[in-house]
């Protein structure tokens, strides 16, 4: 089995992330599975950023922290852990042979990056065409870069010839790409947001596709404005999504409760970063699980779903849209920096069989009521402009939408809203609310972006199974309890300080999980860390 990692390090602004993407793309074209981890600070120029490109001829879902090669763009070498480099393949601008650099290629940072990429490809005997292919995919003006790449390949010395599998070309996707694809496939009309790392990626990508795909993508003055405007738009008939991170979501919580009360569909993309407060803005964490699960005053049903890879990001976003609009509830898609900004390999992109639908009644009758008391708790949805009065209310209300305070109606409306939970639970039971990987009597439980590192650790953990809890609300009690009851040992793996999923499991099932592997330094797990810690627990 081949499994190698390349470290690309330098200062912000030198094109580290782009170079890593090109390398990952090239390896994908050569038929490898690729994972790219991105590590950067909250600054625009300077600092010490790096990407890790891990690749293998076998499926992989996470990065390693030992390197076969380094592309080093930063001469200062500050924070450079040379002990993590296995082989002496450190490429930097000293590899450039000045005499052979042609005059028509400017010797700027970007061309040096391309040169070093070519040089690395040459060391591994990889043909030029894969790099050219990736340049054509990522760049409009790719010819100059291709010349620099060829120069690098020409000046390199073959170290080890890597096999190529060109018929196995794969997709290279980030979680952010997945959310974007899923929302467009759901028929997104309006996306509103206020820039906040690590949710901004979705805003940028959607903004760039807005014109072509006839969507409205807009920045609003603050997150309170974002969600209240979004609720107005959804009430008005648009398929609407908002995106933010923890701090922005904190500002949205009053309106989250409004969505619950007024039964206005809304999809909320919540991308976690290291908290509390401003925290470590460009790093990852799973610290907002309970916040998302319980956000908002009062009690109301909601959907909370956490994808673990880009394909799941597509699937879960489409499910969130369906559930939000079908059941008229707020639905949160909970992601984080690690899933959002890491690249994963996908053999193919698939779409769940969910038809985009606004769930608006075609012809509301003369007696239409926006909050009609139904057996399912779901009232047909009309919008202003139709032949009915569409009345949404943040106060408790009667079926017609007018304000009430009478005790019987207050109880009736609460019951009506919570009746939706059983329909929701039934619907998600067909959509794999938990996923299970590997086999064994022992159980690892996790959620969200730890999926990749945990799956990669299973090959070295005999007798261990991984249960990924994807739906956090409604909570798949039966499935989770059954898996825990059957297991001999149960270990919780989470990217937070207190084991939030463990707390939620205790609340929902009564099962207490004592063994926890928790990481809360802003960095994601690697599979080696999980393997070592599990072995330590045993």
């Amino acid at each position: 089995m081949i499994r190698k990692s390349v470290l690309i390090r330098g200062r912000a602004g030198q094109g580290i992330n782009f170079t890593a993407t090109l390398l990952g793309q090239m390896l994908s074209f050569a038929g490898y599975y690729v994972f790219i981890y991105r590590d950067y600070a909250s600054l625009i120029r300077g600092g010490h950023n790096f990407n890790i490109v891990t690749f293998s001829d076998q499926p992989l879902y996470s990065h390693d922290e030992k390197f076969e090669a380094v592309i080093n763009l930063d001469r200062s070498n500050q924070d450079f852990r040379k002990d993590l480099v296995r082989k002496d393949l450190v490429l930097d601008e000293k590899k450039v042979n000045q005499d052979e650099w042609p005059k028509d290629i400017p010797q700027n940072q970007y061309q040096i990056n391309n040169f070093l990429l070519g040089y690395l490809a040459g060391c591994w005997g990889l043909p030029t065409k894969f790099l050219t292919q990736s340049l054509r995919k990522e760049l409009k003006l790719w010819q100059l870069a291709a010349a620099a790449v060829k120069l690098g390949i020409r000046q390199s010395v073959l170290r080890e010839k890597l096999p190529i599998y060109p018929s196995h070309e794969r997709h290279l996707l980030t979680g952010t790409n997945g959310i974007v694809i899923g929302s467009i496939a759901s028929g997104l009309d309006v996306y509103l947001s206020y820039p906040m790392t690590p949710a901004t990626g979705v805003l940028i990508e959607l903004a760039n596709q807005a014109k072509q795909r006839k969507m409205l993508v807009a920045q609003i003055e603050d997150e309170i404005g974002v969600i209240n405007t979004a609720l107005g738009a959804s009430y008005g008939g648009a398929m609407t999504m908002v995106g933010t991170s923890g701090g922005g979501f904190a500002l949205m919580t009053e309106a989250m409760s409004l969505a619950g009360m007024a039964e206005i569909p809304l999809v909320i993309y919540l991308s976690q970063r290291t908290g509390p407060s401003t925290g470590v803005p460009t790093y990852t964490a799973q610290g907002d699980l309970n916040f998302a699960r319980f956000a908002g005053h009062g009690e109301f049903p909601r959907v909370l779903v956490a994808p673990g890879d880009p394909q799941e990001a597509i699937d879960r976003t489409m499910e969130a849209f369906y559930l939000a609009y079908r059941y008229r509830v707020p639905a949160i898609v909970l992601s984080d920096k690690h899933l959002g900004e890491s690249y994963y390999s996908l053999d193919q992109i698939t779409f769940p069989r969910i038809k985009p639908d606004r769930f608006i009644v075609e012809r509301p009758g003369a007696n239409y009521e926006n909050y009609a008391l139904t057996a399912s708790g779901v009232s047909p949805r009309a919008v202003p402009g139709q032949r009915a009065w569409a009345r949404a209310n943040s106060y408790e209300h009667g079926p017609d939408g007018f304000t009430v305070e009478d005790s019987q109606m207050v109880k009736k409306m609460n019951d009506k809203r919570f009746r939706k939970e059983s329909g929701l639970a039934k619907k998600i039971s067909n959509w794999q609310p938990v996923r299970s990987w590997g086999r064994g009597r022992n159980l690892i439980i996790g959620w969200g972006s730890t999926q990749g590192a945990i799956r990669d650790s299973l090959s070295e953990l005999r007798g261990w199974q991984f249960l990924q809890v994807s739906y956090l609300a409604p909570f798949p009690r039966v499935e989770v309890k059954k898996a825990i009851d059957r297991a001999e040992r149960v270990v919780l793996v989470e990217n937070n300080a207190t084991g939030l999923l463990g707390q939620l499991i205790a609340l929902e099932t009564g099962c207490l999980i004592k063994d926890k592997i928790l990481k809360y330094d802003g960095r994601p797990f690697t599979s080696h860390e999980i393997i070592n810690q599990i072995k330590r627990i045993l």
Partner: protein, 281 residues
């Protein structure tokens, strides 16, 4: 009973509240709009929380009774979803000038085609008599037993500075004028702000006399923003004469025009699944 816009909700304003006069004017304005050809099903009101929000329950039209301070972004969202709707937002001085001031500034700047009616009684009334940012120095409210130690700011001046394209002030004591200004505002394409001076007879009965004595009419909008500012700043919400009328009106492209907004519900989308993985350029 004056119109099809009546509802059977029990009126919970104080007996003899001047909002009842305003409600009558609003209904008459709606009747006039429909008479002029507006499809009544396009009428949509977005309400803040407070005494001014209660219009929601007394108007038989489409409506969204939202959060305190957030009627403006919600109304903006409704226009974003369907620009064919005729949207009116009902706010008080608490929601518009305190909790939601930022939205007033930004909608003034963005110019969506909707009308905001700010019912200014210079107190938080529904929470029983506390000062707002437009209450005068020295006012004794339930939370300012020694009298307010702060001076008001001028929200109309702020809105005008931020780019509001229609700024007016009316008095509930002059319903004909209120109706005519609502009509002008709804004909205006862009963000129209109408401050409705509405003395609270329960907590501030003297305001009625002051408004009667001190107010005067401006006949036509000022010719420039600077001239409008001068008129608007002539009353600082504390003392002096109170100008009423349309202070400023300017034609400029609305947000919906600039963003080419459509009624999304009518859009039949074709999702090109194959094209979804294409790289952005």
């Amino acid at each position: 009973m004056i119109s099809e816009f009546d509802t059977s909700q029990i009126n919970t304003w104080c007996p003899s509240c001047l909002n009842n006069i305003a409600l009558r004017s609003v209904k008459k304005s709606f009747v006039a709009l429909v008479k002029d050809g507006l499809n009544k099903r396009k009428l949509t009101v977005v309400a803040d929380i407070g005494c001014a929000g209660k219009f929601f329950d007394y108007l038989n039209v489409n409506g969204f009774y939202g959060l305190h301070g957030r009627a403006l972004p919600t109304a903006f969202g409704v226009k974003m979803a369907n620009p064919e709707l005729k949207v009116f937002a009902f706010l008080g001085d608490g929601g518009a000038y305190a909790e939601g001031l930022n939205h007033l500034v930004h909608l003034s700047r963005l110019n969506p085609d909707l009308t905001a009616l700010v019912f200014n009684n210079r107190i938080f009334a529904l929470t029983i008599n506390q000062v707002t940012p437009v209450t005068e120095y020295g006012y004794r409210g339930s939370t300012t037993p020694e009298g307010s130690a702060d001076h008001p700011y001028n929200p109309l001046s702020v809105a005008l500075s931020a780019g509001a394209s229609f700024v007016a002030r009316v008095s509930v004591l002059n319903p004909e004028m209120m109706e005519s200004v609502i009509k002008k505002a709804s004909q205006h394409q862009g963000f129209s702000l109408i401050e409705v001076l509405q003395p609270c007879l329960t907590f501030r009965p003297d305001d009625r006399i002051q408004l009667q004595k001190q107010s005067y009419l401006i006949n036509k909008p000022a010719s420039s923003q600077a001239a409008a500012q001068k008129i608007i700043r002539s009353w600082n919400y504390e003392s002096g004469r109170i100008p009423l009328g349309v202070f400023y009106q300017q034609k400029r492209p609305t947000w919906e025009e600039r963003h080419q907004i459509q009624n999304w519900r009518r859009l039949k989308r074709k999702i090109g699944y194959q094209s979804l993985n294409q790289k952005r350029s």
